[in-house]
């Protein structure tokens, strides 16, 4: 899984033991969750700030 995320040529992963890889995996999962949650929440909030007249055009751009 880590090689999928970080690249199959990430040789640095070969230098870590299984327990070390598990800790890296956990830290990366946490970071991804935080980022995804923040993006989702703020994107919706941002769309609500756009004036109604422009919202349709913006929706179109976003959904392209």
């Amino acid at each position: 899984m880590l090689k999928c995320w970080l690249g199959h040529d990430a040789q640095v992963l070969d230098e870590l033991s299984d327990p070390q890889l598990e800790q890296l995996h956990a830290a990366l999962v946490d970071a991804r969750k935080r980022q995804a949650g923040a993006l989702k929440a703020t994107s919706l909030q941002a769309l609500r700030q756009i004036p109604t007249l422009l919202r349709r055009s913006v929706d179109k751009i976003v959904s392209d």
């Binding site: 230098e15 070390q20 890296l24 830290a27 970071a31 756009i50």
Partner: protein
């Protein structure tokens, strides 16, 4: 585990990228600093690319909205962390136009989350007065990792500006996290000449981490003349100060940095350093000799190391002469 300075700095930067604390990246302590940097680059790229399509879509929206409305939406809806990511997907001129209208504390917070490599074109377009204010704010917050990244990505003009803006203390701490030796050298070289002795004095007389940062700075500067000048200023310090520096170098695993500084000194400064009484202590001497051998400094430092060893031998001889011959213990049958 005792880590060298570069490893400690890289662990701190890895923790920053993962949005966690240094103790949660302890798994990487066994790696050397280049491996940690490689891991950090991979992690940063993975996190950056994961939602890139979403950030690009938002950046496209920003392209069609008028600047005042963009600023208003950004301030109301996007935390600086996400605004920084979106800005990296915008045309640099457009992103800079927005950045130049944002409050300084918002920009400073956003800088914590910028990818310096991707954001370099944006950073170079921010107005100097705004850049100076952001740097000042980041220094106030003690965000030296971020300032190190910014220095890496900054244009020549910005490097000079940053160097002129920040205190000696901040420059030493930022230098600790700056990856680009060229940019670091440029920042120190941009200082007025009269500030160089003050910078060295500040490092020598500051707390332990500042002494280590000073040693790292001298080693990483890639201009031999500048390094020699800083090292010569250090040699002018009194015995107590230099002995404290010597012990810091041993305790913080930065003897190679210390030896590099000594090797850069003029012969007169080297002679002065060699008079340090602490150099006669066998444990200190063995640290220096081992570090010189381990870090391929033996050839470079051979004359000086020989002088230290000879001085130590002569000192021992003089000591024996004044106290009488050392009596050998009787041999065991």
């Amino acid at each position: 585990m005792v880590q060298d300075q570069a490893t400690q700095a890289e662990l701190a930067k890895l923790a920053r990228v993962l949005g966690t604390t240094p103790d949660r990246v302890a798994f990487a302590e066994s790696l050397d600093h280049t491996a940690i940097r490689s891991l950090r680059d991979r992690v940063a790229a993975a996190l950056y690319d994961e939602h890139r399509a979403g950030f690009r879509r938002i950046a496209r929206v920003a392209r069609v909205l008028p600047t005042p409305l963009n600023v208003k939406i950004t301030m109301r809806s996007f935390p600086p962390r996400l605004a920084a990511r979106i800005a990296s997907e915008m045309a640099p001129d457009r992103a800079a136009e927005l950045a130049n209208r944002m409050p300084i504390d918002y920009l400073a917070e956003g800088c914590l989350h910028l990818d310096p490599h991707r954001a370099a074109p944006l950073i170079s377009r921010i107005r100097p007065d705004r850049m100076k204010a952001v740097v000042t704010e980041l220094v106030r917050r003690g965000e030296y990792i971020t300032l190190g990244h910014l220095l890496d990505a900054a244009a020549d003009r910005a490097v000079r500006l940053v160097a002129a803006t920040i205190s000696d203390d901040a420059l030493l701490r930022i230098g600790y996290y700056t990856e680009s030796t060229a940019r670091l050298t440029q920042a120190v070289a941009a200082l007025p000449l009269q500030r160089l002795p003050a910078l060295v004095h500040h490092a020598l007389t500051g707390p332990r981490d500042l002494r280590s940062a000073g040693l790292a700075l001298i080693q990483r500067i890639d201009d031999d003349n500048l390094r020699g000048r800083l090292a010569d200023y250090a040699a002018q310090a009194d015995d107590d100060t230099l002995t404290t520096l010597l012990r810091t170098a041993i305790d913080d695993n930065c003897v190679p940095q210390l030896l590099t500084a000594v090797a850069a000194m003029r012969p007169a400064s080297q002679q002065r350093v060699l008079t340090l009484p602490a150099l006669a202590e066998p444990d200190i001497l063995s640290h220096l000799i081992n570090a010189a051998a381990t870090h391929n400094l033996a050839t470079q430092l051979a004359p000086m190391m020989n002088r230290i060893v000879n001085r130590f031998r002569l000192g021992s001889t003089a000591h024996r002469e004044t106290t009488g011959p050392t009596r050998r213990p009787p041999e065991q049958p």
